[in-house]
Structure formats: C-alpha cells, structure tokens
Symmetry: C2
Subunit: 405 residues, 2 copies
C-alpha cells in the first residue's frame, strides 16, 4: 500500500521563510582568490590602502604646467607668454624647475613638477616653437590631481561583506593587490531521486521520464554563487536515501533533494530526517510546491523539493535561492517587476498562494502555466505573477505585477 | 614635443553607437556545450522535440485511478465504494485493468492504467482495507496529465537566439539531450599600454601608477559572456603597439586598448589604425571618456578607451558592453533605474554628455565622482546619472534617474 499520509498542517510562505532564515547556517569559511576570479564573490575582510593613489600630483588634462599666479592676468584679448622649458610625458619625472616666466608641456597623468601648481589645458593656449601663448587665467590647483585624491593611505577601500564588481577589483589593482579574502562558495548537495526518473543517456523504461531537476537545480545554484555537488540518482529506498543524505551532510553546507517529498512517495525522507535530526516543516500553502519538506541533520539544512519539475524549480527560485544567497553573504536577488494587463482570466484556489508563470507580450501577460509537471511552463515564461491565498480569480484586463525571471 | 593634435570633431554618444553598431561583426561560429555549462549561453539552433513529454498519461495528484463515470453519483452524503485492486507507484507499469466497480491507488507522476481516465485525489476518499469510499464525482481527464501535455513531438522547444536559463536547460534534459549548439564566446583582446603604467607586483617607479584597466576590463568582459585575451603591458612605441595590435586582430574578434587614446599620448594608435585600416571616430561628446577612439583593421574593430581608470571603465560599460553583447547574440543589458532626489548641486558642462557616478542612500543620490582618474568614483558608486549635453546644472533636491550598476 502506498503510504499516503496527508501533509499535517500547511504553513504560509512567510512562515516557511522565517523558519528557513532562522535555521540556515551562514558560511564563515574564507579563501584567497586572485583578482581576475573575484567577480561576484563577497569580501571577507576590510581592505585598507597602504599608500596614496595617485602617489604623486599629476596633470588631469593635456596642457602646460605653470605657476597659477603667472596666468592670473591672461585673457583672450590680452594673452601672456611663457617659455616652455621641458616636456613631461605620462611616466616621466620632471627634471627642471619653472619660474613665473616659464612652463612645461605636460600630458594627462604625468607627474607635475614641484615648482608648478596648475595645468593650463591645451585648448586655452597657442604655441610657436617654445613660446606658449596663454589665453585664460587659472586658479592654483586647477586641472591637477592631488596626491591621494583617489585613495588616501589608511582609507578603507573595500569594506567587509561587499560583492566584488569590476570597479572594486580595479581598486585592488590600484593598490597592487593580487588577491583578496572572500567567503568560500556554499556547497549544495543535489540529490535526485524517484523511481520514475531515468538518468540522461539511458533508455526510458515504460512509466519513466528523464531527470530534469538535477539540471535545473544545478545551473540555478551555480548562477547564484553556489557550488553544486551532484549525486547520482538514488533509488528511493530508506537505506539508499539514508546513506546518501548522511554522506551529504558531512560534505556539504546544505542538502537539496529533488523529488520524494510528496505524500504518495512514502515519506521516506521525513522518516530519515526524524531519525537523524528534526523536521522543521512539511507542506507550504503554495502552488506549485505544496509538499516542500525542510529539516535539519547535524546543523545542516535539508530541503526536499517536490519532484515535479516546475514545482521543483519554482521552489528553487522561491525558497532555495534566498537561503543560498544568505548563506553565501550575497544580497537578496534584485527582482525586476513590471505591471501589465492580464490577457486571460485566471482561476486560483482560496487558501493557496499561487505562483503563476506568464509570457509578456505587447503590455499583456499571457498564461504560460501548463501544470506543475511541465518544465515548459517555466522555459517559455518571462516571469510570474503571485496570486495571494485570499484571491480566487483575476479577471481579464486586470493589472498584474509580473516578477521577471 | 608632445604631439598634442586636438581631437578633430567630437561626435555625440548616439552617433558613436550608430557607428559602433554598423561596424561590429556578429560572431556566427558555434560550438557544442554540455548541459551543465549552458547557463547564459545563446542557442545557435532551433531544437525540436523528438518525443512526447510526458511519454505516457500520468497521475497529476496522489489518489485513485478510476473510470470517471463510476464516480459521477458520488457525494459527501452519498458516497460510492470501489475495490482497490492494485497500487501504482511512480515508475511502475500497471498490470491489471479496472472495471466500473474497481480502482487503483496511484501516486503523482505514475502511469495511469489504460482502463482509467481520471484520478480521484486522496483528500476526497476514505479507505478501509481495499474498500475505497469516494466522496465526490469527477469528470473524465480530471487530475490526469495527458501524454505530451508538457512537450509534444515535433514542437520547437528552444528557438534559435535564446539565452539558456535553468528552465530551458531543464527542457533539454527532459528530451534526453546532453548538449546544445551555442555561439562561441567572443574573444576580446585587452591590451594595456602607457608609460606611466606598472604591472601588478612590480615596484612603482616615480611617476608610475599600477595597471587598473586590465583588471576592470577583463572582469567586465567575462561577466558579460566574452572571453578576454589579456596581453602584457605594451611599451607605447609605434613599433611595439603595431606589432601587438596586428597580432590581436588575427587572434580575436575585437581589440580593446586601455590607454593611449588621448591627444597627449602622441596619437600612436590613430596612426597605426590609419596605416592598416580605417579610423571610424576619435572623440565623443561624453565625460568621462572624450578621447575614445574607434577603428577597424581587417574587419576587426579596435576600441581604444582612455587610460584614466574611471574613463576607461565608464566607456567599458557605455560603449564596449553593448557592442560585445550584440556580437555575442546576447540581449542588451537590462538597466535597473530608480528615481531619487539629488543631495547636492551638480555643475556640468554644456555640450558634453556627462556620466556622473552617485551613491544612493535614503532616497537621495550623493555624488561619488571624484575625477576621471579615480577608480573609487566607480567602486563606491551604486550607479550613475546622465546629464545631457544641453544641461549645465542640476540643483539640490531635483529628481534624478539613477541607472544602477
């Protein structure tokens, strides 16, 4: 007899999230990673500057290094003339010193001579051999980057807990750092199960479908900074699943089982979690994904997602991702939302928070949802609308908010 | 003498984009990539289903497989009774056949027996040994997933030119595909140059700063699906740059030079491009980033970004990314924009489209911009505002639109 124990009591999605967040374990282990691999990793240390950037005063424009005071009287109609005594390319060190009658040609980024305090941009000059005509007066420090204007020694340039962007990686390069300390990736065990599931490449037996969840979950986890640890398809016997789950809790930070959480599948995973740990919840008022099961064994969270592919992946987005990102020190996903009209009436079920996938076209949302087993419900969708548990119908042409994938 | 040829004529950002898009070469070469590496790659073929998914009729709920007609009269107060003659787990093949007085216990996902056309969910039943009480009538096909409801044979499941998401990768798994044909990554040469630039790990000589642009550009390119090909720092002589650029145009799809585009840097790159190809533009009415230079050698685009780090990276975002993504068949970046108040007056320059980095805090945008050389201008920023060329001032408390990084 199939043990169809009904789900005891469904909890709301908000309650499920509260339990998930109260029970997850944030990964505090760190590793050192070279600059070019730092994108999207999270800083595990506060980084201070050990020297000024730039480490010298430099020209911020192409032009002429001068003493500002020598230009004060200059105008278009009444230019002043200075003698150019040196040219300074970027990377050069000035060798001479200027007085009030002199200047040096200088390139953007080049070191300003100590004797100058200003750069007259080339647009405000004319040149005849070494005689430079200055057409405008400039205040001291004009067009000069002071030493340390970008970064001053001792400044915190990278706080802890920030995500590395190209610009932040550039800051490390400016400071001659070759690597940074980041939190290591969260290891996520992905355990596929279900007697109806066939591994890719095998011949389908009657009654079987190919393994979808391993591929959707693994790529989703990797996209969001996790390190998937994929197990082979497990036969759904107590002994086989128990052995794999107990192995996974010693090797990974969170265990995700795709399938086997439904009441018709003999609740093996509930029994395994109860034997070795604690069941935190079983059943969420959400569709698709009602039978989601969560527990803990030895401080490691077990998230058992429903086996039906859309239920599984929807729960991957709705429940696994927030947990994974929090464990990884990553900020919550920024959801992009748009408001469009509904192209077709949707009937929902009172008491069930429904996630309904839609395609968006010409300001209208069209249903993409087929059934919770249909992976194309998500592959074809641009996003989803959420129908709260106190709503049983959304009419055609009503404005809905679509969360884009 | 530093050859300070002024930029001939600046073009608008819109004109620059038009030239860039008219001259880029979309990569049409393809490669076969395994499922688990397909995330964010672009499909180069239309994929059709070779079989139905699911390949058989299956139960969409846990319950009892019946002939619907045998339940028509059932109500809460007037239940009917059926004999359960078999149990079908997911993955099982039914062995018996039911008549109007019989049913089979069935699990979600399990194959429906040919003799049944409906599943009565377990919630609407009671059981005593093999006698099943049915409390509600159901129409034919209720709670049954028909063969092919998810994917029907011959259907196009993945069109050409779509980006692979976890759900689309799941569709390939459902169809027993182990890989897919995608466009290969666009190879982007990154050539650092400038006499003032020191490679990371070296001792800074007076007048030098560390190489930032290689790191910001390389990580930006990789984040957006490109394959960076990083060259060693090139001495800024005509011969050295010519040799590296000519090498890069034979090995990569687009060449990005960080530095050496400014008028003070002797226009070597302009001369090299003119000798071997065509200059498309030199100078954009944008700040930072005015001296950006674009040309073509042997059909390969050369994009010479200004050497100052913020100018370089800003142009990476504004000019390189749209080109790279288009070459890669990737859709334009979805920009997230928010509207906030400006915390402090900003003065701009008429005739110059200004990109001004800001930090966002408590509904206010605070200037993050220091100078075009300051990499911290971008590292600390949450996004940027654009000040059009016909605007010279935005006042405190004005509403501005921030494009978030």
């Amino acid at each position: 007899m199939i043990d169809m124990r009904p789900l005891k009591s469904l909890i709301s999605l908000e309650q499920a999230h509260e339990i998930l967040f109260n029970n997850l374990k944030i990964c505090e282990e760190t590793e050192r990673i070279p600059l070019l691999e730092l994108s999207n990793r999270v800083s595990a240390e506060e980084i201070k500057a050990e020297f000024n950037v730039p480490p010298f005063r430099r020209a911020a424009m192409d032009g002429y290094a001068v003493k500002a005071s020598s230009t004060f009287q200059a105008t278009d109609s009444n230019p002043i003339y200075l003698e150019c005594i040196e040219e300074i390319h970027a990377g050069d060190v000035p060798t001479k010193s200027i007085d009030e009658t002199q200047c040096m040609e200088i390139a953007t980024g080049a070191m300003l001579p100590d004797s100058a305090d200003c750069v007259v941009p080339v647009e405000y000059t004319n040149r005849e051999k070494n005689k430079i005509e200055i057409l405008k007066g400039f205040a001291p420090h004009s067009n000069v980057s002071q030493e340390g204007v970008d970064i001053h020694r001792g400044e915190i340039v990278i706080p802890q807990e920030v995500v590395f962007t190209p610009a932040r990686i550039g800051v490390l390069a400016a400071l001659n750092r070759k690597d940074a300390l980041v939190y290591r990736k969260v290891k996520v065990a992905v355990i596929p199960t279900g007697r109806e599931i066939a591994p890719l490449g095998s011949e389908l037996k009657p009654g079987q479908v190919y393994d979808i969840n391993t591929y959707t979950l693994t790529t989703l986890i990797a996209q969001h900074g996790g390190e998937p640890v994929v197990y082979d398809l497990v036969e759904d016997s107590f002994e086989a699943l128990e052995s794999v789950i107990l192995d996974a809790v010693t090797k990974t930070d969170i265990v995700v089982i795709g399938g086997g959480s439904s009441v018709g599948e003999r609740d093996i995973n509930v029994d395994i979690i109860e034997k070795h740990g604690t069941v935190l919840f079983h059943g969420i008022q959400i569709r698709p994904g009602k039978p989601t099961l969560c527990g803990k064994i030895q401080d490691i969270m077990i998230l058992n997602l429903p086996g039906y592919p859309t239920s599984c992946l929807t729960n991957g987005y709705i429940n696994l991702l927030p947990v994974l990102r929090k464990m990884s020190h990553l900020p919550p996903v920024t959801k992009r939302k748009i408001q469009v009209k509904l192209a077709k009436k949707i009937v929902s079920r009172l008491g069930r928070h429904q996630i309904f996938t839609v395609m968006v076209n010409d300001e209208y949302a069209f249903p993409a949802y087929k059934e919770s087993g249909a992976i194309t419900s998500m592959a074809l969708a641009d996003g989803y609308i959420e129908i709260p548990d106190n709503c049983d119908l959304i009419d055609k042409n009503e404005i809905v908010e679509v969360t884009l994938f």
